[in-house]
Every structure is written in C-alpha cells, then in structure tokens.
Symmetry: C2
Amino acid sequence: MSRIDYPVYLQLRDRLWTWIEDEQLGSQQRLPSERELSERFHTTRVTIRQALSQLEAEGLIFRSNRRGWYITPERLRYDPSRDVGFNRYVTEQGFRPRTETLSKVLTETPPWLSEITGLAIGAPIYHVFRRRYVDERGLLVEHNYINPAHCPGLLSESTDVSIWQMLRDQYDLCPEHRDIEIYPLALKGLEAEALGVNQGTAGLYIQRLSFDQRGEFLELDREYWLHDALKISVRIGDRH
Amino acid sequence: MSRIDYPVYLQLRDRLWTWIEDEQLGSQQRLPSERELSERFHTTRVTIRQALSQLEAEGLIFRSNRRGWYITPERLRYDPSRDVGFNRYVTEQGFRPRTETLSKVLTETPPWLSEITGLAIGAPIYHVFRRRYVDERGLLVEHNYINPAHCPGLLSESTDVSIWQMLRDQYDLCPEHRDIEIYPLALKGLEAEALGVNQGTAGLYIQRLSFDQRGEFLELDREYWLHDALKISVRIGDRH
DNA sequence: GCTCCAATCTGGTATAGACCAGATTATGAA
DNA sequence: TTCATAATCTGGTCTATACCAGATTGGAGC
C-alpha cells in the first residue's frame, strides 16, 4: 500500500527511480520519451514531466534540449582553493576533459570590475570566455579577467588548457591570497545559452578573485556550473 | 517591440521583475495571488506559475506553503571555514537569528558515519538536529554528530546557541583540520518538511568534518540550506 | 556513397478547466 | 472577550489537448 496523501508525481518520481535502477541505466544513457513514459505509467505527460523535473532537481537525470532525458554522470570533485588546472583533476578522476575558448579579447575595465579589483575604469583587461566539458557534456562556462600588467602576451597564448599553469610557467605568477564566493543561482542569458540549457536551470556560481604577493590584482574567475555537475571538496587547516 | 520567439513566461518573468521594482516591494513582502496576477497580466495561472518559478529559481521571490509568494531577503554571507557561531555572524550582518533544537539524543554510530569518522559502528554518538532562522524565516536545518569522548555532558547543555562556542568554552576543544563538502541538491523528506518547503525545492548542502590536534574525530556537521539564503564567502591564503 | 530535404520524433510552451488541502479570516455562540 | 466553527482564499495537483521548434531520421536524387 502506498501512503495516502502522497501526490502522484512524487509516487512517479519514486517509481521512475527504482525503474532506472532496475534497468541499470548508466551515465549519459537515455530514458524513454515523455509520451512513452506517460503511457507506461498510466498518467499524462504533464504529470510525468513534474516527476522528471523532481529527478532533475535531485541530480539523477538531466535534459538535453529537445533530445530527451539522460542519466546524470557522477559529480566531479572540485577544490576551488587549489591551483590545479581543470584538465588535470578531471583526468585524475578518470574523466575526459575538454575546453573551448569562446572568446578572448583585450577590453576595458568596466565599473563593476573596477570596484572589486582596484583597477581604473577603462584600464586594459584581458577577458577570456571558455566552456568546459567532461566526457563531452558541457558542465560550466567561465569568464576570466586577467590583469595584463603581469602577462602582456596572453592573447597569443593558448587558452584551451590551464590559465594558471600558463601564468605560473610563462610569467612566474602565483596568487598570494584570494577571495572566493560561492552560491546557487539560476543559469540565464548568455550562460544558459552557452551551456545549451533552458533559462532558469539551477546552477552554481563560483568566483575567485586573486591577488599577488604585493596585493595587486591578478585575476578574476567567474564560473557558472550546472547544479548537478560538481561536489566542492576542501580541506582546511592541514599543515602537511 | 519585444523580441520574437521569446516565450510568454520569460516575458512575464521580466515584466514581473520590473513590476516588483516599480512597486518597491521589499524583503518578505507578499505578492498578489496567482489568480490576481494571471488576470492582471492577461494570461493563465499555469503560465504565471511558470514565470514565478523562474523568479524563484533566480532567488528574487520565495513561496510559503499555501500562503503566497514573498520577496526573498538578501543573502546571508557565510564562511564555513571559520568557527564563528551562527548567531554572531547573523547579528553582525544586521539580521535577527533564532535556533530551534528539534531533537538531541545520544545514539549509536551508524555504518555511514563510522566510515567517514573512524568511530566503531555502534559506538555512542551525540546527534543534535536543529533549525535555524534569520528574521523568522527558516533558512536551514542542521545535523550535528559529536564525539562524546570529548564532551560527556553535552545533553545537559543548551544547544540553542553555538555548539562551537560551547565546545571551546566548556571543553576546551577546537578543530585542527576539517574536510568541507559543498554541493547543490534538492531538499526532500525530513529536511524539506522541517523547512516547510515543497519536496524537490533547490537547496545547498554543506558538510564539515572536524578533527582535533591528535587526528581524532570531533564533530560532523551536515547543513541543508535554502538555495537562495546564503552566499559563501571565504578568504584563502591571507597571513594576517 | 553522398548530399539535401522532407517526414517524424522530441521536449517546450500554452490554454482552460477542475478539484484538493492547508492557511486565513469571518462569524456567531458561549 | 474567548473560542470553536464555517466560509473563503491560497497555492498545489492533475487532466486533456493543442501547437511549436529544434533534433533526428529516412529516403530520394545525384
């Protein structure tokens, strides 16, 4: 007997969950179409969609625009306090990374950026906009704002790998301290578009503001992640 | 002229946003009912609800079960790496904190807890379950698992204030290092119920696992936050 | 084989209506 | 005034249907 007063779409969520387990659907595998599911579970498409949205919120499945529903891969572990490049820790965890540079320009510091970096409004600043994949699923887009005073030749460097590694190797730069901000938000506008998800899809915002030993602004990193893509994992206070 | 191919519910989202600005609705103020809004904006309740859900995902408004939609207060800034108690930093930011202890028991270490703490399965462990408010809005629920070896008299202490402060003052305990995990999830079951939100509401999970100077397990903290309630803010590498 | 285009399949959006259950408010009796 | 209760208001759930637009597929023509 199912509990009374338990809405149909929540019952469906549970039945879908166990159905997925029974079928042993694995990472990135596709579910049957909504119409097929609504027949199979004797309900309407609207209600099935409600149940699917629940599973999406829980991170079990994700949608690919007008293509269908798929099983969400395991979360990527991520430590924003470390300087290790994306490619390296993705590989370390047994996944296949890929980075696309969507734009890379030398532009002028806008007011909001001036406010948090101390740069003058209109001062030259590099802006790199990239999309990162894990196993061919786009997990995040990232805006990098880099102080050109420290690395004048950045535009001619490749930005499809780690910017940090490049800053360290080519320009001998490393941050002395940084301010990190993290909060959940809805992906919208440019970011939603670049990730191929619907407006309002749940996401996680991570911002890193780095300064060098002399307290000068080095780099600002603004990352927009899919909500189900990562698990932040930090160790603090260890002296090894 | 509005952009073509822009769905009605997204247009509504924008119109509602500006309408809220025009009306100068402030923190915790109530919106008109869905039926009223759907008339006012010449659409159906379903579509209005879609627009409201967008604004909810974006953190502008939140819902209170069968009572209505309200303006979301400003996010609370939160640094999980510091030992400052909830009450203190809520107050520091000009808000009014409140904590309810929902349960407080001495129980036996379950397998999953044994795995991450090193305690023996079945070993005694304190479990405190609390709900935290800011300005009378419940923002998170929190499970604390505390090693009784270090603070035998915990059950008789008040847990409506900072557990950390108590551990420090009464038992002279402070953590040497800790592992922090953070990721977005959907609030469900006990946590959703305790916060009075619908199953599947977006949330943020924060876990802190603390050990003392000798590497012994001190405390495990599992927090379930509303997604729109906080902004994590950490400074790393500063030597002041 | 290949390319191109049409048919088809998919999820995305939108309407109109209905009923439910919890929360609030109004009412009226004590 | 107090307190129980009834009416009402609110969001929550659900059905049935329709059409759209992007993605995929299948086949015709080369």
